[in-house]
Symmetry: C2
Subunit: 529 residues, 2 copies
């Protein structure tokens, strides 16, 4: 699609009487001369009060636990970091320095896991956006880690800083997003060894929500922690009492724990910041093809990382991560939103709760575009994640191509679906007034309720109000161009970028952050970290 | 899309080494010279063993029950059929012959509902396709009642007999489909007063699965019952002991029970055949805008119809139906797959189980095409229906435009999603062999499992095998034409129609059915029924 054919926003996004859109011009939200802002939901922190779906029986959980401890005690995990091996050894693990294999027995694992908190609070620059991770809290995160980016206007291209900033703006703008994963996309036009400084600065100045930091080595997380302290106007000591940082480490499945990830985890755990431990368990490639084996391996590898955080700082906030899906056995390509992925999202929650830990899961898809496949995959994974009682649901907006692309249009579709999920999670009300008996009494058999007082008093908020859905009849829809939802989404992210407002931050803190970035860039130079 | 650009089947549907497709030529499935059949799942009857999701507390259920009985006892239902009013009166209801209002009190309702069975079995011409409706059984039905039809090759057109036959063939072909709703689409090119004979004949000769019959008056259901008896080679008496027929009646919400629906329900109930009672409760139009009021009204109206079946034949099979969704309050257009629809699908199951009745719900969407919206709406409604423990999930394949269109491409997308849902409902296995510890022992840290014996022994059936998903990487996908899932679906329904095989039926029964249809057409003539 060329810029000339960019569709106008759908009628749903543009109430009657709206003046024509005026593009490319900054204006205040709701200013008299502009079009009204997107009618999105308010920012709120949903609670998941419905019982989780549980594909595992209690016996299954016990068997997976036992099998995972057999993996940890008999096969062990290859730990490349000498520091991490030393920490495990001090804690009582069996460490083979020749092979780097670390073995943990059940008693040690359970003792270490017991010190991890069931929930904890992360506070970003805006305390209203603080997230308490654990229990029934459920938060949705933006796509992260994509090497490429796609929008209908410019097509598919490599990740870059301009699009990075746009994605942060969109994640800040849309209230359905509670947090950012590590790097919404890879800004490949920035120097590898200092781009973490640029992206953290953007995250802190263009957004006030929680974001994850890169887990490659101690330097990057240390820089991020110092910048978060500056941005909040607190010391590192104070940060350790009121954590802001969170990172995600992968175990390189099967059974390999690399040096950089271990270093990042140990640094943040010592500082009392949060670590998510997510084994990268694609069934058929990194694990056997069976769900039983994959879950046992996921559990073993997650416990391995969780234990490290508790060794270096008992009580440090840590999250049980699950990312079990399957590959296409014909090609080796990863698949997401499959039945296996959906069930694993549910089962992972059962395992996390077995250890009384918060749970991170994901809503991913593999399709190459924002088509039926992309959406059924995302929905399947999302329902698995929500009914699995994920506390942090990663990649919930904008993820495409198995994570190879951050998509602007997919992001808008996902926001619509997340808003709907928020509404599903909102408890229903059954007051006397809600039952509306008088309205029923006053409406004759075969009549309708369009004009009832009960309706008129409630119609503005009675139902979920979509930002993208088009419920026109076929004739009206054809007349408006017969656009698919992904085509209509283009105008919505454009409007969101226009309407976006940066959060406020005291000027001295912005200056201090910029000074920190300059100083660190000088120190790092162009050498690889 | 013109016929010249019909895509070839996706690589997923066509294993390597397949010979080129040969279109327009009938051949045996799997014949050496043809392309292999679609790699669909086997026919099976899934069980829903996961706990249902329950947005209603026990208190909410009690309040909805009480409120619905307040509607039935204070406001009553307008019953247009004199026969039905007489039946209600004989049973002890308060009947006002001037206004046609029938009021039922709680004791009477509960006494009548108590005689309805918690589950029952319907047997079609093929006993292997018999369905036991109730408990944890979950069955998926094809789109029904659409006045129009759409495919990518011919576009949108009015419903007609040719497409009707195609949809029956597709519903027969795809094993994910357990039953047909009433008339997959309206064959508008057939005479209104005899088309039920043509469609029942098609259903009986092109399929051997359960199908619903039209609920407009006694004549149509009587004809269908007689044809089912002929097709099974049994008498009407025997049919009454081993039911085959099922119909769906709507209550015209609010609170109006029309003559034709009542007549059909009474006839079938007397004959021991099954009736589904589904109030047509679109919030904001036919009910107040609140979920509380809508569920109370749905419950009142469903109980009203259920009671009628039990009055005329205590113990007659009957199903509690829910179809609560919302309208767009700006335009009055119905919406489906909304948060409200999803929650109502779950809540309806709680109400049905409260009365120990089987539950019918739906997986509908409102979008005008097979786009992201169409799929997120369908998925939302489907997850509501499945987690609500629907026993019969209507409109689960091919429904589009709020039911105004039966779509060939949507049907294929839906089949893929239903197959995935079947797989999600299939219990996981946790045997010693499933845990694959030897494979893990033999695979080094950082290695992979592609070539492991454990993988090779299981790879063909380890994961759900899709018929439509494309997991190619972006380059390969682009090279194959960069087709969306809805575009790829065209070739799949074409192949399914080619591969379709009619079920066998003894020649004398086919002749008897054709003779019955001829005789009845003569008797009915062209007069309106």
């Amino acid at each position: 699609m060329s810029p000339d054919t960019v569709p106008e926003p759908s009628s749903d996004a543009k109430p009657e009487g709206a003046s024509p859109r005026r593009r490319g011009r900054r204006r205040s939200v709701g200013a008299e001369t502009g079009s009204p802002p997107i009618n999105q939901q308010q920012f709120f922190k949903p609670q998941n009060h419905m019982a989780p779906l549980t594909p595992l029986s209690d016996d299954h959980i016990a068997e997976i636990h036992n099998q995972s401890l057999r993996i940890l005690s008999e096969l062990g995990i290859e730990v490349d970091s000498a520091n991490a091996r030393a920490a495990y050894k001090d804690a009582g693990a069996d460490v083979d320095e020749a092979s780097h294999i670390v073995r943990l027995d059940e008693a040690l694992v359970m003792q270490l896991v017991a010190s991890a908190p069931a929930s904890f609070t992360l506070t970003p620059t805006n305390p209203d956006r603080a997230l308490t991770i654990g229990g029934n809290n459920i938060y949705f995160g933006l796509v992260s880690g994509a090497p490429n980016v796609h929008c209908a206007l410019k097509g598919r291209r490599t990740g870059n800083f301009e699009d990075y900033k746009n994605l942060i703006k969109l994640g800040q703008y849309f209230n359905a997003i509670h947090f950012f994963g590590n790097q919404a996309l890879a800004p490949n036009d920035l120097a590898v060894n200092t781009r973490h400084l640029d992206t953290v600065l953007v995250n802190l100045t263009l957004s006030d929500k929680i974001f994850l930091t890169m887990s490659i080595g101690e330097v990057r997380v240390s820089d991020a922690a110092q910048m978060l302290a500056i941005a909040r106007g607190i010391s590192l000591d104070e940060l350790s009492q009121s954590p802001s940082c969170i990172t995600n480490i992968n175990i390189n499945s099967p059974r390999k724990f690399d040096t950089e990830m271990a270093a990042a985890a140990m640094y943040l755990a010592r500082l009392g910041q949060a670590v998510v431990v997510t084994p990268f368990t694609l069934m058929g490639a990194m694990t056997p093809v069976t769900m039983a084996a994959a879950l046992a391996q996921q559990n073993a590898e997650a416990l391995m990382g969780i234990c490290l955080t508790q060794i270096v700082n008992p009580g440090a906030p840590v999250v049980y991560g699950g990312f079990t899906s399957n590959v296409d056995l014909k090609t080796g390509a990863p698949a997401f939103g499959t039945p296996e992925n959906t069930l694993a999202n549910m089962a992972g929650g059962q395992l996390a709760r077995h250890y009384n830990l918060p749970y991170r899961t994901s809503a991913c898809s593999a399709s190459n575009c924002v088509d039926a496949q992309g959406i059924w995959e995302t929905q399947m994974a999302l329902w698995g994640a929500v009914t699995g009682h994920g506390n942090l649901i990663y990649h919930a907006a904008g993820w495409q191509e198995g994570g190879l692309v951050a998509s602007y249009e997919k992001l808008i579709v996902d926001i619509e679906m997340l808003q709907a999920m928020h509404r599903i999670l909102t408890p229903l009300s059954f007051s006397e007034a809600d039952f509306g008996f008088d309205a029923q009494r006053q409406t004759p058999a075969g009549g309708h309720f369009f004009g009832a007082d009960h309706t008129l008093e409630r119609y503005k908020t009675a139902f979920y109000s979509p930002i993208l859905s088009d419920w026109s009849n076929n004739e009206a829809w054809e007349k408006q161009g017969g656009l698919r939802a992904d085509e209509r989404a283009t105008a919505i992210w454009q409007q969101a970028l226009e309407d976006y407002q940066p959060p406020s931050m005291p000027a001295d803190r912005v200056e201090a952050l910029e000074a920190f970035v300059s100083k660190r860039k000088e120190e790092i130079g162009t050498s690889e970290i």
